[in-house]
């Protein structure tokens, strides 16, 4: 009995089938398609128990195709508006849609649909994870640390927007393409960050989100129309960050910052891949935010130890990044970099530009950084006051522990 299946085969195949079937039936039948695909997997999981097929992918594709015709017959009797597919020439056309390159094309269409500006930006991620990546509502909720009900609402709102705007299932062309590509990259970037910055206990969930974002990003790179230097830079950035994923958490499941990470645990093949991607990204002189973010990540990886980090270079990249995309979080980071670099006057200049309100629920990051600043200028009482402010506003348990560790070392310093 052959029992090894490729990891995530079902999940990935689910995304493929939903995309291809949507291409055949149109976005207006998305829900029927999703149900049908789900049925196929339940059937597979029961039938394969005793008798796994020799070629599981072919089996799934064939089952999906049969399901197409099944749904078609059912819908036909319900007199819904449908393209006229018969078993003749159109069925051959359907066969062609299941070829490798066409499957990828359909998936790209789905990604571009998920990132359509008519969809609420918060709904895009959930919708992409559901339709392109084959995540269940439960899995999305757990990955995004959100309630299942919220995800359900987001998905139904996304579907509604698609119906109301009568979106076409395609990859935009001409001038519309670069704009939409921006939005696609943003969604992939957010999915990746959800994984990378999430402090969810299960390391697996984080890795899956990061992996998924990278898989989708590679899909963009494979297609000549969607390939761009910014996409290369985004992929390089993901490689650089992923290389550190395992080192971010110690064996006690505690978050480690760059300073505490065991650099031997960094995954160097990913660093090399990132470098290769970066070389391709800089062939074009126009740099995106992703270029600078990747450059910053690369600079951290280049340092042999935390102490040897080239903070001046990093600060320069951040200045570029903030000029292109002004954000309080960049300014905060620059302040933190200046503290590392012992340039406390400049750190203060950055802090003076910031206000706690800029950071909403992530305000603990601001207070934490200020605590570091006061520690650096040996104003320990104020440092402790700010650590307490951070502790009052942090919700994440791992971050909380991290801050508490900092506080206890501060209390020792104060004595």
């Amino acid at each position: 009995m052959e029992s090894q299946l490729i990891d995530h085969l079902f999940r990935h195949h689910s995304g493929k089938m939903v995309s291809v079937l949507t291409r055949i039936f149109g976005l207006e039948h998305l829900e029927v398609v999703e149900d049908a695909v789900q049925d196929t997997f339940i059937k597979a999981s029961l039938i394969w128990r005793n008798n796994p097929p020799e070629n599981p992918e072919a089996w799934l594709t064939k089952a999906a195709k049969n399901r197409v015709l099944d749904i078609f017959r059912t819908l036909k009797t319900e007199k819904k508006h449908l393209p006229n597919i018969t078993l003749g020439t159109d069925a051959i056309a359907i066969n062609e849609l299941f070829l490798g390159s066409e499957i990828e094309d359909a998936q790209l269409r789905m990604i571009f649909t998920a990132c359509h500006p008519d969809l609420d930006s918060r709904d895009r991620i959930s919708f992409a994870l559901k339709t392109v990546s084959g995540f269940s509502i439960k899995e999305i909720a757990s990955a995004l640390l959100t309630k299942e009900d919220t995800i359900k609402k987001r998905l139904s709102r996304a579907r509604k927007s698609i119906q109301t705007s009568q979106l076409k299932f395609n990859i935009p062309q001409g001038k519309a393409l670069p704009v939409r590509l921006e939005s696609v990259m943003e969604v992939l970037y957010l999915i990746f960050n959800e994984g990378f910055h999430s402090n969810k206990k299960e390391k697996l969930v984080r890795k899956e989100l990061c992996g998924e974002a990278m898989r989708l990003c590679q899909m963009l790179l494979k297609n000549e129309h969607t390939r761009s230097s910014a996409v290369y830079a985004l992929f390089a950035l993901m490689c650089f960050h992923s290389a550190r994923l395992d080192a971010k958490i110690n064996t006690d499941n505690e978050v480690l910052d760059l300073k505490e990470q065991d650099r031997n645990q960094w995954h160097f093949p990913l660093v090399e891949l990132g470098n290769t991607m970066m070389t391709k990204a800089v062939k074009n002189a126009a740099f995106s935010c992703y270029h600078y973010e990747a450059a910053i990540a690369a600079e951290h990886l280049r340092a042999l130890s935390f102490e040897k980090t080239n903070w001046n270079q990093i600060l320069e990249w951040y200045e570029h990044l903030n000029a292109l995309q002004p954000m309080p979080s960049h300014v905060l980071t620059m302040a933190v970099v200046c503290i590392q670099n012992n340039n406390l006057t400049r750190a203060k200049i950055y802090f003076d530009q910031l206000h706690p309100n800029d950071f909403a629920q992530r305000v603990y990051l601001y207070y934490g950084a200020k605590a570091d600043y006061y520690t650096a200028i040996k104003a320990y009482k104020r440092a402790i006051k700010h650590i307490d402010l951070a502790l009052n506003t942090v919700t994440n348990q791992l971050e909380k522990k991290y801050l508490q560790r900092k506080k206890s070392s501060l209390l020792k310093l104060e004595q």
């Binding site: 029992s3 995530h8 085969l9 079902f10 049925d39 597979a44 999981s45 039938i47 269940s136 509502i137």
Partner: protein
């Protein structure tokens, strides 16, 4: 050696909203269990059952078509194994993958008729 049937009741995948990933993981556990029994040389057969059922009841042979949603404890499949006694099969049944989904394993001995 005697023959036993392990009957799997409940834990209908269609009703549980499992994701493709979870379905694949579950299937992996079923594979592993099947392999283990095969390697031990005790597996004599088995099948999974589709959830749709037609029921014929009583004197009047009343016929009803049912789906899993309408049946409280649906039989989802069975395995036939060869074993010394109930205790041995109970041990084998420890690896049934779906206890956490509320599944049940019922062990029954196959009756042998004198020839």
């Amino acid at each position: 050696m005697k023959e036993f049937m392990m009957i799997f009741i409940g834990a209908d995948y269609a009703d549980l909203g499992l994701s493709p990933e979870e379905l694949q993981n579950r299937m992996g556990k079923w594979f592993a269990w099947g392999n283990k029994m095969e390697e031990a040389g005790i597996l004599r057969g088995g099948n999974a059952l589709n959830p749709d059922m037609r029921r014929i009841v009583g004197q009047n042979r009343t016929v009803t078509d049912l789906t899993s949603a309408e049946v409280k404890e649906i039989v989802g499949g069975y395995y036939l194994v060869e074993a010394q006694d109930f205790d041995a099969v109970e041990k084998v049944a420890q690896d049934f993958p779906d206890y956490d989904l509320g599944g049940t394993v019922e062990i029954r001995e196959i009756m042998v008729f004198d020839k």
